[in-house]
Symmetry: D2
Subunit: 341 residues, 4 copies
């Protein structure tokens, strides 16, 4: 049984474990005030090319989303997100639990456009409705698509003109920025969005997301919010050591490139076998549409999510690759699938 | 510079790191549904001697407190805690942020008594005040004291008679249960309190607390609450592997015994040197009272918290020992201190 | 200028004002423990034909919705509502501000069906999503439609089978129950829904909604929730006096019948003039579709809401009638409109 | 049986009822956008002598406190209040339910001092604790005392120096400002505090509090917060009409003067009879200390709250007078009490 179920099926890249071992007995202060966390922040700032951002290390994606969004908004303000957005559907109402409505928008291909947001603004005109204030986007999206620089520039301009905060969930940012179709850099992000995070959990770390706050008005007292939400780890060093190792050289992107490469082998070979896909995905999640009996056959040797029913006889499945995905397993899957068609 | 600042200054016990390495490339499901987490839960149930409890692994203490307390209470219900309780003062309003008041009570030696709680009940009589519903205690307490079995039995009886939930913060439970003055077992706890947790972060793990829910009416849907609060780690295995290793044999208690032993050496030797203590502590935190100039001298070679001013010339400092505290450093500290008196 | 803008444009029915005057100098206890509030509750129980319900008097609709829904739900539980539901769009995120997601569903004619709810249940299957728990319906709905007894029985059965709470917003319940198409009684409601309220504000009172809690498990400690949300008025007598007067005889329903009669005159006469309507409404809100220039003409003598654009040249407007609507103004409006066609 | 239990035992001053009758059939817009509410705001601004304040009319005290405080604070910020403050003890955790901790301080005579607040600031130094941000005071206080201009100037200066918001609960502001010991004006308040409210419910209105927001940074989007908390009444006219009537001439203060006069007769006559008081109160609540048997005797003809036990044989009772208190009943109470001594 080999798993294409997600990109967090294994532990961490061996270099990260080695870094934990090497630093293990050094005494350091708690709560992210250790030298490893400080080093991670410096390495990240360097890589982003901006000294004026604030960077905080948190444990996971839902935690980062809820801590940031609740810190950024006043009680009557709402987030706008795609219906398929992670905060809309897969965080058990974490954002609402902090008091904020999510205005959910039907979108194409997982991505919000200025037209989507404008329609929300036009519908929310007075104090009897929430005030739309934060635009939540994911890159890569929950269905594998990625934002282009042009798309992000349009969102950025629109948000600034309309006094909206643009927030990017980067749980899979490594894969997005490493995609062959990507034209964005970390430096671009720091200019175009108001806050974003760089996901470690799904790209080779044990746990960890690095939140980058790019605008001064969002920075104040952020550590208070982290503590209040249970997001300030006593052993913050655990996050610092991992991000230091990921960004000491090109490890973070090398891992993402491997994940993408495995996904592209799957995509290209399945395409050649005339298999269609639910979405165009240039990142580490692909969604081939297969006849249901073939899906059942595959399940005896592979684990993956059945994403959605396409018609009476076909469903889309989700195949996720990661830094740890083995190329020989990818090739075996392709061969097995071809044998079933 | 050697640190007695806290019990989370170092990484993890080497066996835990080794367990992470050994399991690293095994593919497992996410969100605590991996075999390591399941194994940890089984080992914990066995050690507690109760199969009917629910056990959940969370990342940290504040997170565990806020997730459990907000899951257990209805909106108008409040927690009762000592003024010195961790949730009262050192969690940035995490409990209030979930909507619940903490009724703070002045206590002696960090411990709540039935008299304390009864006074609260007598003062809260109608719907114009919150309804006291959950009693929060810490063991060991924030100032090093521990609960005896008799004290806990009294609290248990009182809470049951008054329809109150008894919740124990066990961030330092290892040290409490390993104290020479302790007469409680994990099995006792499962009978006497309604929920408690076993702290890993402060006893040799990288991160992790094991929440034990002992009563059926508190169990329902608890994983929903974890997810909503950002407490369901994608790589839940990280917690499972650590707790499996800590409870595979006696490692968890061995680490706590070492921490306590180091604290008792400090306590006994300082006592011999006629140094007084702020509190009676039989666990891994002690609070010697020292002349301010001597404290300043010590600070050039040791780091620790200055806990509180005692009089114009004296302050109490907090010395915390851990699984990682080195005996030769303890002896050197004693020698240095004696040299200063 | 005559207003068909809403059913709260005037003050209160003169009998209510007289009752306030008559009782004015009697000394009574506060917070709904006065004899007027007790009398109102008894009159309402009698009228409903059920002694075992709990009844609470609150000031307004949003307040009643947020107090009840937050009292009924645990933190991870969500409400299901139509997109057009009042809590979905016109309460500034009041429900989310208490921590709960509203799962919004596209519906026909403003009414939720078991099929709508079932689709939500099928999509919410695990702890990564909120748990759907409460079904929110309005009667009459926000677009004037009303529920039949059969529809409500189906919802009731479905909710009980699926352990869901069925909650009815009755801000305009008087109009619904007084509609010529209605086949429901207050007694039916107490059997079929778990809680509902009887709106006074939009049916002749100055302010006031009577919340009826029909199931024991929803009753406990409700006054605590009211106080916490600012919904326990010091002079609760203000609500008690009004509801006593409204339900001392048939006043409440007489007022609603008048409102409906005025709306039906409008509807029938406009229909005869070949005007179409956006929805089928047998209650006190109707939505005729008119050419935009005619709407503009009407606005010089009448005030009303423009509800929505229908096509490039037409819009639907909302005409609301009330206990205070004057028949001569209704006839004049019809005449004026006919003159414009 | 005559009641000195509170100042909301009767309905409203007859002029208010008359104003409701006179305006009853005028059609007006809802939600505080009616001409009566606009007039009330203008009259209040004139009386305060400041055109640059924002004024909102709400239904009750708890509602005003929770709406204002939650609008003014970010999630990690806390209110400082006296232990005896209304928000601390008698609002069922309304403030905490919006997510904010109240830091409760032991004070003398119900009033906060700069020393009290400074002690809180010194104890709250980092992100592991909430950030004290808003100072809540009541005038008159819950035990009848009032603030002097000098005291308020000191609080004002201290709050500004320390970036704290000063908020005054004025549920009984009429009585405070009408006290013979008062040296403050409404105009002073607008300069010295950042927001305050003028209580109508306890001074002759049916319901209603007028919140005055004096600083620009607290004004933005306040009506959104009102709507979200259920505090925007559909028939906002009910509040507007009442405050217009109260502030059209001197009615508001005349009513308070009468209440105070009745209390002072009680206080002076009881003093002459050598009865001691729990607190020094120059406003409409007084707290005589009486032997328990005498209290029991009085209870057969008068209703009042027993405030607290003073010693084994004595308790303090609370006598509250209002705009509606009859002088002959006051004299009869004095006579009856004297007869019992």
């Amino acid at each position: 049984m080999y798993s294409f179920k997600n990109d967090y099926s294994e532990g961490a890249h061996p270099r990260i474990l080695q870094a934990l071992i090497d630093s293990n007995l050094e005494q350091e202060d708690g709560y992210g005030e250790d030298r490893f966390s400080r080093e991670a922040v410096e390495l990240l700032k360097e890589r982003i090319g901006r000294k004026d951002v604030d960077i905080h290390l948190l444990a996971g994606g839902t935690q980062t989303n809820l801590t940031a969004i609740s810190a950024f908004l006043r009680p009557h303000e709402a987030a706008i997100a795609a219906c398929s957005g992670h905060i809309s559907t897969h965080e058990t109402g974490a954002i609402e639990a902090t008091g904020h409505k999510i205005i959910e928008v039907q979108v194409d291909n997982g991505k919000l456009t200025t037209a989507n947001i404008n329609a929300v603004l036009e519908a929310h005109t007075d104090e009897h409705m929430v005030k739309p204030k934060l635009v939540y986007i994911s890159n890569s999206t929950e269905i594998g698509s990625i934002y282009t620089k042009q798309e992000l520039e349009q969102l950025c301009d629109f948000c600034h003109e309309n006094n909206l905060i643009l927030f990017m969930d980067g749980a899979r940012l490594g894969s997005a920025l490493s995609s062959s179709e990507n034209d964005l850099t970390l430096n671009d992000l720091a200019s175009l969005v108001d806050a974003f995070y760089i996901g470690g959990t799904k790209n080779g770390a044990l746990i960890g997301e690095a939140l980058v706050i790019c605008r001064d008005f969002l920075k104040e007292d952020f550590r208070f919010h982290m503590k209040q939400k249970g997001a300030l780890l006593a052993k913050g060093r655990l996050l610092g050591i991992q991000f230091s190792e990921l960004f000491r050289d090109n490890l973070f992107f090398d891992l993402a490139l491997h994940a993408n490469k495995m996904a592209m082998i799957l995509r290209d070979e399945l395409s050649k076998a005339n298999i269609k896909f639910l979405t165009h995905s240039p990142s580490n999640q692909i969604f081939p549409i297969l006849p249901n009996p073939i899906i059942r056959e595959l399940q005896s040797n592979y684990s993956f999510h059945i994403w959605e029913k396409v018609d009476a006889d076909h469903s889309a499945i989700r195949l996720v690759t990661s830094w740890a995905t083995k190329e020989d397993q990818v090739l075996k899957f392709i061969e097995d699938l071809k044998g079933l068609i």
